[in-house]
Symmetry: C2
Subunit: 341 residues, 2 copies
């Protein structure tokens, strides 16, 4: 009983012809129950798996799906990836995970690699501002792609993400209802288009509420948001630029840095009487409940975004790679009230 070398040999020991075995591996339900049993019996006795290289060479479309995220060291993406991977595996696909690590050159390299993987589809969260738009556009023309997290106008067959207005409207409304209206704390040159939408939402909400908006723009580039928020926070606090005691950060990672700056400066943050500052933010970053104080924030519907992105990709794949029209699905946020505001 030597090791099975190929499908020919496996077909022999299972007493079924090779084409039928091949059919089985492509779709177990496509063969008669008695045949399936024979094959699965043999599968238990011998551990054989079709050579994926030979399989993929001959299928015009592989069962691979690519997953691309801009920055894997951000637990937000790590969490989304976890959900997406599982759904893909359950649906019989083989996910390949890539992180651009915040670099355009890497993002482009990944697109090249993906092309040669001939994936059935790709789920991509682009760098955003740092993306090579032309490269992504060219890629999307060749490979069925669903964008998520950050949208790039018109690219990909669909976009799935969070509704930035929903995030900001809830936090602004809450802060305004429970105290002074917030100033908006953000990077001057955000890495990601969501930031721009959030600022716009902030301005619109403040107008709607009849408040005077105040946007604090801090310097810094790259994906080290905590450090940028920290440095920017120190600067703002030292220069005493704050005209309000309520700060709404564009995202949790900035807020984590800002809270560290507040702590260093001895400023008590929270909504109780002994506090001089309220801080809130957006994303419900996995660490936001462990900041000091814990961070009031607006949560992504991680599950809904992940699952809808995957579902959309599957529909796209079944439709042969093109969709009637480019859809944009946005999910609302959920306000998470904690101690910081």
């Amino acid at each position: 009983m030597h090791k099975i070398r190929n499908m020919e040999e496996f077909a022999a020991v299972s007493g079924i012809s090779r084409p039928t075995v091949s059919k089985y591996f492509n779709d177990p339900s496509s063969v008669r129950a008695s045949t399936r049993r024979k094959i699965e019996d043999a599968l238990e006795r011998f551990d054989y798996r079709p050579n994926i290289y030979a399989v993929n060479q001959n299928r015009r479309l592989t069962k691979n799906v690519g997953i691309v995220v801009p920055y894997l060291a951000d637990p937000f993406f790590a969490e989304i990836v976890r959900v997406i991977e599982r759904r893909c595996i359950d649906a019989g696909f083989t996910p390949s995970l890539f992180s651009s690590h915040g670099q355009q050159s890497l993002e482009n390299d990944i697109l090249d690699t993906l092309r040669s993987l001939k994936p059935a589809g790709v789920l991509m969260a682009p760098l955003g501002r740092g993306s090579d738009k032309l490269a992504i556009e060219a890629f999307c023309r060749n490979v069925p792609t669903v964008l998520f997290d950050s949208n790039i106008d018109g690219m990909g067959e669909a976009f799935v993400g969070s509704d930035n207005f929903s995030f900001v409207s809830q936090t602004v409304e809450y802060l305004d209802r429970t105290g002074p209206p917030p100033a908006f704390f953000e990077m001057r040159h955000p890495a990601n288009p969501n930031a721009n939408k959030r600022r716009a939402a902030y301005l619109k909400m403040m107008e709607r509420l009849g408040r005077t908006p105040e946007v604090i723009k801090i310097e810094g580039t790259g994906w080290g948001f905590e450090e940028i928020g920290h440095q920017g926070g120190l600067k703002v606090l030292e220069e005493d630029k704050l005209t309000t005691n309520t700060v709404l950060c564009s995202n949790d990672r900035l807020a984590i840095g800002f809270l560290a700056a507040c702590y260093e400066k001895g400023l008590n943050v929270g909504r109780t009487d002994d506090c001089v500052l309220r801080v809130a933010s957006h994303d419900d970053h996995p660490f936001s409940r462990f900041t000091c104080p814990s961070l009031t924030t607006a949560a992504h519907d991680y599950t809904a975004v992940s699952e809808h992105a995957v579902e959309t990709l599957f529909r796209l794949i079944e439709s042969g790679g093109r969709l009637e029209h480019r859809s944009e699905q946005l999910f609302a946020a959920r306000l998470i009230m904690r101690e910081s505001a």
Copy 2:
């Protein structure tokens, strides 16, 4: 000038025979300079890349390397992955990234997937206590593997990691020198063998210093260390079980949770006079500088570990998959003094 379909066509447009082109792609320096120029000229005019499935089918050994980490949502691993990926790409390999997401079943699935990828080698950080030892052992027999981060006795051709004694000895020595000796804060059932080594190192150091050790074991399972540290911290503080004012956490993620608990309880942490508690830890987690107060910790030599792991894997691959003897390389820690102790 239609699209190039295969190496045959590409060879035609570059004016070189297919076997020579094939030789070029396997090692560009193996063809004459003038030939190389012709091929690279054609490469610029037509964008052709060999079909990776056809290539890998015929090579007995692919140029793939697998990278497996236990928990990608931990920025520690995300950071290591970033360095490792780059080194692999630069060396002409194609890295494939996998996360076990803390689940044994997933780790085993990944091993199966990896086997069918026929990688030249694998860099694996196992789950540790949660790993299926037999499955990993069987895998290592078939695939050249270098373990990193957590060691499993005798498995893989080499281990590269951090020297837990170096971590703990430095923090204990520092804490003892600058104040009361620390109690050790850890999970009762740690996910990872490093924790056991750290506890042992703590006990040995305390003995060496002539101090009475005190180990605080908290409940909780899984990879949500911050939450476990948080809950465990609250419990310890509420029950007033602390017989010392200095706490050394087994790792930073526990410490992040513990610090959150201290903050909630209104305990001032730090080394200044107004503080009632000192807290230190190990790992230099990317977020440890943004805790409140910033966390005194012992840092991994990320770069050294990552690069030595990769170098070891490359040596292993060049040696045909087996090494003379299993080597274990440990790197020392660097004490990072911040505000918490």
